[in-house]
Amino acid sequence: MMRYTLTRIGSVIPTVLGAATVAFLLLRLIPGDPARISAGPTATPEQVEHLRVQLGLDRPWWEQYLDFMKNLFTGSLGTSTRSGNSVAAEIGTRLPFTIQLAFWAMLIAIVVGCALGIVGALYRGRAIDFIFSAVSVIGVSAPVFWIGLMMIVLFSVKLGWFPASGAATPASVVLPAVALSLFAIGFISRQTRSAMIDALSMDAVRTARAKGMSGVNVIGKQALRNALVPVITVVGLQFGQMLGGSILTESVFGWPGIGQLLVNSINNRDYPVVQGVVFVVAVLLILVNLATDLLYSAIDPRVRHGN
C-alpha cells in the first residue's frame, strides 16, 4: 500500500514538469508575434520592443524556457502585462472561487448521480428507472449556458431565491454549482447504474445472500464497493470536464473564478496570465488524477497488489 502510494505520488513530478513545458510552448507555437499582438493595434514600434524585452521574448527560446522553469521553482509565474501584478497573485485571488464552485458542483453531482444510479439499478426496467434515465439524458445534453439562463430567470428573477450573479453572499454559489453539476449528474448516474447492475449480478453477491446477509449489507457493502471503481473513474474524468464547464458557468453567473480570469486575459492578450492559468489548471487535473488512482487502490486491493 505504502509503496504503491509513494511511487504514484513520485510519478506526479515529471507530469507537472511536462505540463509546465506545454504551457510554455503553447504561446510560442501559435503563429504571430506575441509582443506585437500583446501590445495592441495602436502601439508604437518602441512600445512593442519595450514589451518584447519585458516579456523576455528577445532572448533565445531555451534561455526563456530555463528562466520560466527556474521561476516556477520559486513560485513565480511572471507578471501580468495588463495589471502589472504578479500572475501568482492574480490566480491566487481567483482560484479559491473556482475551487469552491467545483467542490459544490462535484458534491451535488456525486450524491445525486450515485443516488439516481443506485435506485435505477435496483428498480431497473420499472417506471422510476425510465424517469431517472430521462433526467440523466437531459443533464448530459442541455448546454450549461442555456440551463444557467433558465435558472436565473426562474430562481432569481421570478422567485428571487438566489442572487443572479456575482459571489457576494454564501447563497450565490447555489445556482452556478447546480448548473455546473447537471452534466456530471447525468454521466455519473449512468455509470453508477450500469456498474451497480454488474455488481449485483456478481457471484460474490449471491454468496453474500447465501450467507443470509441483509439487503442493506448486500447492496451497500458487497455490491456498492465493487461498483465504485468504475464510478470513481468517471468522477475523475468529470472533474476535468467541470473545470472546462466552469469557464462557461462563471461567465453566465458572473462568478469571479479562474475561468473568467482566463477569458479576460485571452481578450486582453495577457500572455503571462494565460500561461499561468493553463499551468495551474493542468496541475489541478494532475492532482485529481492522483487522488483518483489512490482512491482506486484504497477500494480495490487488486490494484495495489499490481494485478
Binding site: 445472500r209 441483509s214 449489507n217 458487497q222
Partner: protein, 333 residues
C-alpha cells in the same frame, strides 16, 4: 427415519418457462445425497430453489414444497429465508474464483457470517474466523485472514467458502459442483475435507455433480436428474452396480475407470439434454435411448419404486443391463 430436507413436486420457472418439472427427493440428517445429471438438466436450479437464491426472473411455482427441518421454505418471504440461509442451510459454488468478494479480506468475509448468525463481537468473530480457517485446512490462518481472495489459489478459496458455509454449524450443506473448477489432486482433498467435516458436524450434504466418480466416493444415495425431473433414485452403491435407467447406465459408461484400455474412446450418450422449450410429450430421454419403443414416446413414465429403495422412471428398466419387457408396472410397496 425423518428427513432433514424433503422436496416434493418442486416446479420452478424462468419467465414463465418451466425448467423444473416436479422434483422429489429426501435427504436425511448427516447423510449425503448426490444429485447427478448432464449440463442443463436442472441441478443448479434445484439447489438455488431450495436456497431461495433464484434470479429475479425465476419463480418456485405454487404447489411446490421444500421442507427443511419441518419448516416450509417454498413461498417464504426473503426476510424469513434470511434467517435460514447461512444458519441452517449453506451453499458452496462451482466458481471459487468469483464466489468471494474481491474487495474484502477473507477474514472479513468469514467473520461477517459468524457475527451475523452467532451474534459474536467483532473480536470474537475474528478469532472464530481464524479457527474456522484452521478447521478447513488452511495453514497459518492468522496470516491468511488479512489476505484478499486474489492472493489465494482456487483450492484455498474453495476452502474459505467451506469455512464460511460451516461457520454457523448448518444442518444442510449444498455443494454445487464444488470441485469442477479445480485440479484433480485438489478435487480429492476438497472431497475428503467435506467428508471429514460432515462427520464432525453431523451435517447433511446435497452434492451436485455430473461426475459419478465423485458420487461413488462420497454419497450415500443418488438422485439422477434429466430434463427437469428425477429419473432414478437409490443407494449410491446400488446405482453404480445396477443402474436401472438407460440414462444412468449411459452416464456410468462415460466415467473412466482404472484398468480401462486408454485407446478405446469412452462411450458417450449421443445427443444432448433437450432444452425446456423442447421437452417431448412422452419419456424425455426416448430420443437418445437405444431401447425406446413407440409407446415410450407417447406416455411419460412415472417415478416408481420397482425394487425396495430403488425408484426409476422408465417403463423398461434395465436388469443386469437388459431392458425388461413391457409392460413392467408391478409395484413393490
Amino acid at each position: 427415519m425423518t428427513s432433514l430436507l424433503s422436496v416434493r413436486d418442486l416446479r420452478t420457472a424462468f419467465n414463465g418457462q418451466t425448467v423444473l418439472d416436479g422434483v422429489d427427493f429426501d435427504l436425511h440428517p448427516g447423510k449425503t445425497l448426490g444429485l447427478v445429471g448432464e449440463s442443463g438438466s436442472g441441478k443448479s436450479v434445484t439447489a438455488l430453489s431450495v436456497m431461495g437464491l433464484l434470479d429475479r426472473n425465476g419463480k418456485v411455482l405454487p404447489g411446490s414444497s421444500i421442507k427443511l427441518e419441518g419448516q416450509e421454505l417454498a413461498g417464504l418471504s426473503e426476510r424469513g429465508l434470511r434467517e435460514v440461509r447461512g444458519k441452517r442451510m449453506a451453499m458452496i459454488f462451482q466458481e471459487p474464483m468469483s464466489s468471494l468478494n474481491p474487495v474484502y479480506t477473507v477474514g472479513d468475509q468469514v467473520a461477517e457470517t459468524v457475527r451475523k448468525h452467532l451474534g459474536l463481537s467483532r473480536r470474537a468473530s475474528r478469532e472464530r474466523a481464524v479457527e474456522l480457517l484452521r478447521m478447513v485446512g488452511i495453514s497459518a490462518p492468522e496470516r491468511r485472514v488479512t489476505e484478499y481472495p486474489h492472493q489465494l489459489s482456487g483450492g484455498m478459496r474453495q476452502r474459505v467458502m467451506i469455512a464460511i458455509a460451516i461457520s454457523a454449524d448448518p444442518a444442510l450443506l449444498i455443494a454445487d459442483e464444488p470441485t469442477t473448477a479445480l485440479d484433480v489432486t485438489i478435487q480429492g482433498q476438497i472431497l475428503a475435507l467435506l467428508k471429514e467435516l460432515q462427520e464432525r458436524l453431523n451435517m447433511a450434504i446435497l452434492m451436485i455433480t455430473h461426475d459419478l466418480g465423485v458420487v461413488s466416493q462420497i454419497a450415500d444415495d443418488v438422485a439422477v436428474m434429466y430434463a427437469g425431473q428425477i429419473i432414478e433414485r437409490t443407494e449410491a452403491q446400488r446405482l453404480v452396480g445396477n443402474p436401472a435407467h438407460p440414462y444412468s447406465r449411459g452416464l456410468l459408461a462415460s466415467v473412466p475407470r482404472l484398468g480401462m484400455d486408454r485407446n478405446v474412446p469412452l462411450p458417450s450418450i449421443p445427443g444432448s439434454v433437450p432444452s425446456p422449450a423442447d421437452w417431448p410429450a412422452g419419456c424425455r430421454f426416448a430420443d437418445r435411448c437405444e431401447f425406446a419403443t413407440p409407446q415410450c414416446r407417447e406416455k411419460p413414465p412415472l417415478l416408481i419404486e420397482r425394487w425396495p429403495g430403488h425408484e426409476v422412471a422408465c417403463d423398461h428398466p434395465l436388469v443386469d443391463g437388459v431392458p425388461t419387457p413391457e409392460p413392467a408396472r408391478e409395484v413393490v410397496s
